[in-house]
Symmetry: C2
Subunit: 285 residues, 2 copies
């Protein structure tokens, strides 16, 4: 079966590979062809436009940078909504605005298309290993039809409710992470000042009530000084800003999220937007 | 072998049981005898004073509430330093001040006694199941001699460095938790406002980059409205205040810890000090 995949960045590469591994014929388009070259070399079929790529398959997956990119790739002339074959399933896996997800769902329905919002968690390693968590909003019937495709890319795949609910779940995910990665950073900064062996400290607390993916993964990177992006600071800022916007719209104040967002924005102001989220420790050193 | 155990609260009960299970003859003292009654019924030997309890064994374990309680039980007339047998090992497992741990270590050495600071993580369930993480400061030789006793109560047991380093590690542990439990609370509050099925949301994000002990354990309790104390808010406030004090003394600002501490203090001001730390969600509802 053909699948179209738009947006072949650090996440998309692994996801395309896993789709090919599962036997799908994957058509791809990305803004920067060089980023896609490795998977083209492995058999993915390159298209020169969104329109051509979208027209090639009954399932069209997108994972691009920002909500404005999602907006463009779906709504611009020659975008997905103009180009997808009748009855196609459109799966946006970008972390994006829940309101935009509803807008795509409605616009798709008007054109006889079906849309899912299906953002992911698990970072580049989850994308590479096919172990992403995928949170899906839309119609349950569409979700079921699309499940085998999602299963090629992820491990924990859940239907969350109507259009936008996948994005809301991802917002919740990012809110958890903002507090968790802040706690990890503050603890490592403390341990360094107190003169502890930080590796020994991490090993000691990684099996108890402080344990987390962030501690075991980003904590290790922090103490090793490895700031290569598994997940970019600039993208995390986007996600947290979206979450804050949604919370604000509901009269909900999230001070830990807001403080974490402020700290990351300061780091980005210092030119660290392309480092991994674990570079938060630099704000404390 | 005899072991003396002072402070038989929600943590101590499980720890005493596991020591007895391992074949130790456990002598106990606690401020409130009723709290100790269940383990007395199971064979622990009750003493009417710290002095009598401390005199009974070559290893004396304490896990009491606050640093002032630690200070009293060690330094008051008839306290442990006055009563312990020659060459005894004094193990304070209370989460307490690193400076106080050093003070006990020095005072013990002057009396021919040996001290370890060995705070734990893992909550009441870790204490009950013998799966506590135990972080130990003091002399490595003393640590090794005491290891079989600690192994009866915990699973991940580590020597962290000189006197006070066990406590510093515990401070780092609590700093991680403060950010993590805040992130979990804010995410659940968000999910509730966004109209998500919160159980489904938790299940969706519990296997990815947001995963943590706090999410899986306290997150579940939050959505079920179970606020029974695994770990008391009043004790967590004590721990966070100690950590803030130590960070301040090193010129280190920890805004996430501080905000979390403020929020917990507001809850305590509203009479929730005896609820579990998962009641943090109430500040957001």
């Amino acid at each position: 079966m053909n699948i179209s995949f738009i947006g072949v960045g650090v996440m998309g590469r692994g996801m395309v590979r896993n789709l090919m591994k599962a036997g799908y014929k994957v058509h791809i388009y990305s803004r920067t062809r060089e980023k896609a070259q490795p998977v083209i070399d492995e058999g993915a079929l390159w298209h020169d436009s969104v329109a051509s790529c979208a027209a090639a398959s009954p399932v069209i997956i997108t994972i691009v940078g920002y909500p404005k990119d999602v907006e463009e790739v779906y709504f611009a002339p020659g975008g997905i909504l103009d180009s997808a074959p009748a009855n196609a399933i459109l799966v946006d896996m970008t972390t994006s605005s829940p309101v935009l997800a509803e807008k795509i769902f409605d616009a798709a329905a008007k054109k006889g298309l079906r849309a899912l919002d299906a953002p992911v968690s698990g970072g580049d390693s989850g994308a590479a290993n096919g172990t992403l968590a995928i949170m899906v909003g839309g119609q349950e019937e569409t979700f079921r039809e699309c499940l085998p495709v999602l299963e090629a890319m992820g491990k924990s795949i859940r239907f969350m409710g109507k259009a936008g609910c996948g994005q809301h779940t991802k917002m919740a995910n990012q809110i958890v992470i903002s507090g968790t990665v802040s706690g990890v950073s503050e603890a490592i900064a403390y341990a360094e000042r107190a003169g502890l062996d930080t590796q020994n400290m991490l090993d000691a607390i990684s099996s108890g009530a402080a344990s987390s993916w962030q501690l075991s993964n980003n904590g290790q990177k922090m103490i090793k000084g490895d700031f290569a992006p598994g997940f970019y600071i600039k993208h995390f800022i986007k996600d947290m800003a979206l979450a804050k916007e949604e919370a604000d719209a509901r009269g909900l104040s999230l001070p830990i999220l807001e403080k974490t967002l402020d700290t990351y924005r300061a780091l980005m102001g210092n030119g660290l937007g392309d480092e991994g989220t674990q570079a938060l420790i630099k704000a404390y050193r």
